[in-house]
């Protein structure tokens, strides 16, 4: 019974906690620019994330190591420092963009500018981390995040051409603006496959003291849960394609995203989308801060746990404290949250091999995962998707900005 409840909670957490500012805005941009044609990027990113999350849970359950812990131990400090620093830097940009997303949602409701909201949001996120437990951070906000199911409801009510949606799941060449097409594809992949997610997941598995008996739960929550969450992201793309393309509206700001369901769901469409823009990113701010503290603590050997009082893991707690309040700076300094989101998503895609390649090597090392090594399908799928993301990022960024 307890395990059934854990599976149910894990599934709900995966669904409710999936959408955040990066996945919402990149999917909306994809839908607005190319209708359903970029569905394949959402699908590919989701599949890759599901595989990586399952692997990180498996690594933690069998080896009793988190990803960062295992990379440091297996490859040594001089090598492990590089992916840790890269992931920390990119994650910081993502965190700032998520904070900006929450601030925008509050601006939409109150009319008060985002610069005024940045610090209060950071303070509330910090309070959740300071006083809360791992379960509260992971599951509490994700349960509220079920509000994002409004995109599924809206997509169904819009009666899109589901055949065209299915067709979009197969990669095709764009009929116009190829540089822009591939740029959005890269940003969708970067929004889906963010390293902080699987680092957070593996640390969480250690916090929850997983062992080999949790492997089936891991497969369901990481695999099935993520696929459902990815389906929600696809629904955002479908809604944007159905609503914005006929009106000739591109997504250049989050305001345009907030309008997505106002026609088909009226006032509730506005309220629930704005709630989605607030809750999902808020959860992401807390998770990224925690994931970053996990990285630093595991890399350097500090005490760490979200389930102990901050004084019992002082360096760990102060690290996320400093980070949460530093993330206010980009918004206070006037950086546009949507532009910051796009930059951080593309940089995430470009930096993926740095964190994923050593992780894949660990998943094939019997000393860590014993008889639970990766199969060739998992290895090939992850390696190909990650390599493709990086190559696309290298190619599409100059094309996008140098008039390709």
């Amino acid at each position: 019974m307890k395990r059934i409840l854990e599976v149910a909670l894990g599934l709900v957490t995966s669904i409710g906690g999936f959408l955040e500012i990066g996945s919402i805005t990149t999917a909306a941009q994809g839908g607005a620019a190319f209708t359903f044609q970029l569905g394949w990027a959402v699908a590919l990113g989701t599949i890759c994330l599901a595989l990586l999350l399952e692997m990180s849970g498996r690594l933690a359950a069998i080896s009793k190591h988190t990803i960062v812990d295992a990379i440091r131990e297996r490859f040594g400090f001089p090598f492990s420092l590089f992916p840790s620093v890269i992931v920390l830097v990119v994650s910081f940009l993502v965190m700032a963009s998520e904070l900006g997303g929450v601030a925008l949602a509050l601006q939409f409701v109150t009319g008060i500018g985002i610069r005024w909201w940045a610090l209060p949001i950071a303070a509330v996120a910090w309070l959740l981390l300071w006083k809360g437990t791992f379960g509260m951070v992971e599951q509490g906000v994700s349960l509220l995040g079920l509000v994002t199911l409004v995109f599924l409801v809206g997509a169904i009510k819009l009666h899109p051409d589901w055949g065209a949606v299915a067709h979009g799941l197969v990669p095709t060449m764009p009929s116009h603006e190829p540089a822009h097409y591939w740029f959005i594809a890269v940003s969708i992949l970067g929004a889906s496959i963010t390293p902080y997610l699987f680092i957070f997941y593996s640390s969480g598995a250690i916090e929850d003291k997983w062992d080999s008996s949790y492997l089936p739960i891991n497969r369901i929550t990481a695999g099935v849960g993520t696929l459902f969450g990815g389906a929600l992201s696809l629904m955002v793309l479908v809604v944007a394609g159905s609503v914005l393309v006929p009106r000739g509206i591109q997504v250049d700001s989050v305001e345009q995203v907030a309008l997505l369901l106002t026609h088909v769901l009226g006032r509730w469409g506005f309220i629930l989308v704005v709630a989605s823009l607030a809750i999902g990113p808020f959860g992401a701010v807390a998770e990224i801060a925690l994931a970053s503290a996990y990285i630093a603590a595991e890399e350097l050997g500090w005490n760490w746990s979200e389930d102990v009082a901050p004084r019992d893991a002082a360096r760990f707690s102060m690290f996320y404290t400093v980070l949460v309040f530093l993330s206010v700076l980009p918004i206070v300094l006037g950086l546009d949250p949507l532009k910051l989101t796009m930059i951080s998503m593309v940089l995430t895609a470009a930096s993926l091999p740095v964190s994923v390649v050593p992780f894949l090597l660990l998943m094939n090392d019997e000393r860590y995962v014993k008889e639970h090594k990766n199969g060739w399908i998992g290895n090939t799928a992850v390696a190909l998707i990650v390599l493709m993301s990086c190559v696309l990022a290298v190619v599409s960024i100059p094309l996008q900005f140098m008039g390709g």
């Binding site: 490859f75 890269i86 009319g111 000739g248 305001e255 506005f270 470009a350 091999p353 740095v354």
Partner: protein, 149 residues
């Protein structure tokens, strides 16, 4: 060591990406791109006004969105002014941009004063102007693609 090579390659990629993203902030856009962006913001302003008149969105959000549209088009106007006089479609683009900015400013005033009647009168004109800009953008884009072949 292969892993170190991967790490160095990614470091170089990230540096290139960051440099490109940073340098992207300058320079005028292509007229086709600018026209579609103008049309997009015009359509956004019309859409939010229509939703506000249907009570689907709040007045505060309407004002925020209209102000956002206004500031984006103001920034775009400065970039469009850098386009050479001989640029294809420039004159139509500048005229359309001016008209749409004026209508958005009028909508902003109407929204601030909770004047639904004025907003309802301006919105259809804005929709037409936005559609014209979108059509211009697509035409210029087709011409560009035909020329590059």
């Amino acid at each position: 060591m292969p892993a170190a090579c991967v790490a160095r390659a990614c470091g170089a990629t990230i540096s290139l990406a960051t440099a490109c993203l940073v340098t992207a902030c300058g320079g005028p856009p292509a007229p086709s791109e600018a026209a579609q962006t103008v049309g997009s913001w015009g359509a956004t302003a019309q859409f939010v006004t229509e939703r506000w008149n249907q009570s689907a969105v709040s007045r505060k959000f309407t004002v925020v969105t209209l102000r956002r549209a206004g500031s984006e088009l103001e920034a775009l106007a400065k970039k469009v002014a850098q386009l050479p006089d001989t640029a294809n479609g420039r004159a139509t683009l500048v005229a359309g941009l001016r008209e749409i900015r004026a209508e958005i400013a009028a909508l902003d005033t109407a929204a601030v004063h909770d004047d639904h009647a004025t907003a309802a009168r301006i919105a259809p004109k804005l929709a037409i102007a936005a559609a014209q800009m979108d059509t211009l953008g697509q035409r210029l884009q087709s011409q560009q693609q035909a020329q590059s072949k």
